[in-house]
């Protein structure tokens, strides 16, 4: 009985600690965009994502994109339903680890694209920066932004609502 009480106590302390940690993490979430909030040009937690030096490791260890530091998913491997597609069937298996998507396997895929997309958790790369400069070299064509449909703006809105 004493042993039981002891283990129950330890367990309770652990659970309380875990909840506390979780809450702390949530309150420390880097603010990206939340409803009814002006986007600050620079929030205290908004470290530059790429500089000419080592990037702070927290910018890369956080899930992509970040609105809360801990993932919103439960750990495990989930197999999606088979979707009837024009060129065949599509079926996806997703692996969640630490609350984040770490692997997406296409169990069935109808076309010639890659069969596995692995979102790795490699060390922070150093992304090079430069000031933009006009180029006079002759080109065959140009890549530039066109207006995406108004629907994108609306779909972004719904995504951000869900992310907040």
């Amino acid at each position: 009985m004493r042993k039981f009480l002891l283990s129950a106590t330890v367990l309770t302390i652990f659970v309380v600690y875990a909840l506390h940690t979780n809450l702390e993490n949530e309150s420390a979430a880097p603010i990206v965009i939340k409803p009814n909030m002006i986007i600050p040009s620079s929030t205290p937690t908004d470290t530059p994502v790429a500089t000419l030096g080592p990037t702070p490791s927290n910018t890369f260890s956080t899930p992509v994109p970040v609105s809360t530091p801990q993932g919103r998913y439960r750990d495990g491997t989930y197999t999606g339903a088979v979707a009837d597609a024009f060129y065949g069937n599509v079926q996806v298996q997703v692996t969640i680890s630490g609350g984040n998507i770490t692997d997406v396997q296409f169990l069935q895929y109808p076309n010639d694209r890659s069969t596995s997309v692995f979102i790795n958790s490699q060390a922070t790369p150093l992304l090079r920066q430069e000031a933009i400069q006009a180029q006079s070299a002759q080109v065959d064509g140009v890549s530039g932004a066109t207006a995406t449909s108004g629907a994108f703006i609306q779909s972004l809105q719904s995504a951000l609502q869900q992310a907040s």
Binding site: A137, G141, S143, G144, T148, I153
Partner: protein, 247 residues
């Protein structure tokens, strides 16, 4: 070299072919533009008879529409919700994924007609194949977001696709939809190079919407390279980007 431009799906579509075309064969330009017009009929959210309109009326849709929906769902998962074809009013608009998919299909049409050297540009998203008129890789400029008449980078591609998402055409088109005055303005342009235009295009828009973190997202994705320009005119590129660029 032959070049044709048509306005379809509300944007200029340019097809350039550098192969020597035999006059007797099927006109590849006609085939490609007919395909884009067909896509417009099927997937325009503005056409009553389109698959998209049917979907939103709860009517039965084609297997191809279902396939596009499954692609959209995959992309939504991969981008943690930053790509979503569902609008707040509950309606579905897959135009964000259909464009790149259609360009890639148009490229397949040309390849099936034994056309090897071409590029297809639909509103600034480009699929390349083979070589240009000089027998070299295609040279594509990245437009200056602060001056539309200028390029700020030139990349050489042969088989890859390139897509740019940004705020500079027809005004600020991506903004914080909640606080309407606050555009997502820390970056102004994000160009993505991928194994094909579909891969490049489908990630360019959601990565752009992620703000400065978008370039990290591109860095993490295998097979993608990116060039991001912020409002100060500073560009940040992924570690493998320079292999495409001319300095």
């Amino acid at each position: 070299m032959t070049k044709k431009i048509e306005i379809v799906m509300g944007m200029p579509i340019t097809v350039v072919i550098t192969d020597n075309l035999q006059p007797s064969t099927i006109n590849p330009f006609e085939k490609v533009f007919a395909y884009f017009r067909e896509v417009d009929e099927k997937y325009s959210p503005f056409k009553e008879t389109s698959e998209v309109a049917k979907l939103n009326r709860g009517e039965k849709v084609s297997n191809e529409m279902k396939f596009i929906l499954s692609l959209s769902q995959d992309l939504r998962n991969l981008t943690d919700g930053y790509f979503d074809i569902k609008r707040p009013d509950g309606k579905i608009d897959p135009s964000g994924i259909v464009k790149g998919w259609a360009i890639l299909n148009a490229a397949k049409i040309l390849k099936n007609l034994a056309v090897k050297n071409f590029y297809i540009d639909a509103g600034g998203d480009v699929q390349t194949s083979g070589k240009n008129a000089e027998g070299k890789k295609w040279r594509l400029g990245i437009r200056n977001p602060f001056n539309k008449k200028e390029n700020i980078k030139v990349v050489c591609l042969s088989g890859e696709g390139i897509a740019t998402s940004g705020t500079y055409e027809r005004g600020q088109h991506i903004y914080d939809p909640v606080g309407k005055k606050n555009e997502i303005n820390d970056i102004v342009s994000l160009t993505v190079i991928g194994p094909n235009v579909f891969e490049a295009d489908k990630f360019a828009t959601p990565a752009f919407a992620m703000g400065k973190r978008g370039i990290e997202f591109i860095e993490k994705m295998p097979g993608l390279e990116g060039y991001m320009i912020d409002k100060e005119g500073i560009a940040t590129m992924t570690s493998g980007f320079s292999k495409y660029a001319i300095d």
